[in-house]
Amino acid sequence: MAKFHSSKIANHDTATIGPNRPALWKLFLVWTCIGIQSFGGGSATILLIRREFIERHTWLSEEEYERYWSLCQLSPGIILVAMVILIGRKLRSRLGIIVSLAGMLLPSAIITCLFSAGFVLVQAFSPVQAMMRGVIPATAGLMLTIALQFALPPLKNASSSRGLHLIECLVIMVLSALAISWWHIEIVVVVLGAILLSLGVFYPLQKRGKA
């Protein structure tokens, strides 16, 4: 009886959130649309996700979305993929994760492969080679831009607080770049070293400074 009662409550629960559980094929389609529409990553895709999942379909609440987004900043690898996993699981549990990832990544990955194959076909032509001599340094500029976008928020925070934060920012950024490009140290060591430096040296110093 108790079991029946609880299942009734559960039913009632899904009834109030009822229309908020999308069919799997719909979930797949929505993620496919988002994946194919997003070029050059980051902020544009975030806007698309917000529009589809909160505004158009009300599958997610604003608070859940914000919580997922801040949590995903901790994820290794592509932040958006972590976001897809969390939203997929929230909406349709395990199958939801698979369907969402497939929708977001597979069509785009296939198009990326087709573009790469097309490039392989034409790359020997001299006009294409001339174009690539312009494109390659531009991609370096793009990487530089992404680096600056990463660096700005912590630098801004640091300049508004104590000097130790600023020293931490500069030391870790410069040391890690040098460690890779100049001393050719293994990346895993560099990443772990930076974490150790931050948590082992700067964090205790900052704590002592506050106390």
């Binding site: 994946g35 194919i36 997003s38 070029f39 050059g40 990553g41 980051g42 949590l71 994820s75 290794p76 690898g77 592509i78 932040i79 993929v81 996993i85 969390l86 699981r89 990832l101 990544l105 069509p107 785009s108 990955a109 198009i111 492969c113 573009f115 790469s116 392989v120 080679q129 174009m131 690539m132 001599r133 312009g134 494109v135 390659i136 340094p137 531009a138 991609t139 370096a140 500029g141 793009l142 990487m143 530089l144 992404i146 680096a147 990463f150 660096a151 920012c169 870790i172 890690s176 770049a177 490009s181 050719h184 990346i187 560099v190 990443v191 930076a194 974490i195 430096l197 948590l199 964090y203």
Partner: protein
Amino acid sequence: VNWFLYFLLFLKASTFSFGGMSNLASLQRDLPIYHWAHLSDFGKAVAIGQVSPGPNGLWVVSLGYLTYGIPGAAMALLAITIPPFLILPLNTLYRRLEEQHWMEALLRSLVLVSVGLLLSSAWSILAETLQDRWSIPICLMACVLCITRRLGALALILLAACAGFLFYGLHF
């Protein structure tokens, strides 16, 4: 190509990266050692990734294709899909993690080390092109245009292709 090691190198790069582009530095370091990729492949893959749809991080799929064909692309895709699954255990720990003061310091160190990774991979790409007169001006111009948000990544790549054609194809 030892496909298992190839896959592991991609997986390692993705696991120790933060955001879609900072795995570049690790791959730039590892793949050429085994002669599985030429240094010039990385710039090409990033450029193709920028003109293709999908998250930024899908540029590795292009690198996989350029270096090892369809199997390479599939392994690259798998390698970038696995590490973000760590978000599921993190999600269950969220309430406890949220209260820890050191979390902020940890997050900051990850962002900062990514800046180092991105800077050194930008340098590696640029270093390959330094024999060309216009490389550094194009690189800086691209950076300025992106930061001031005058141009999206797609338009930027097309513009750079035009510039390359003018300077090196027509010898303007």
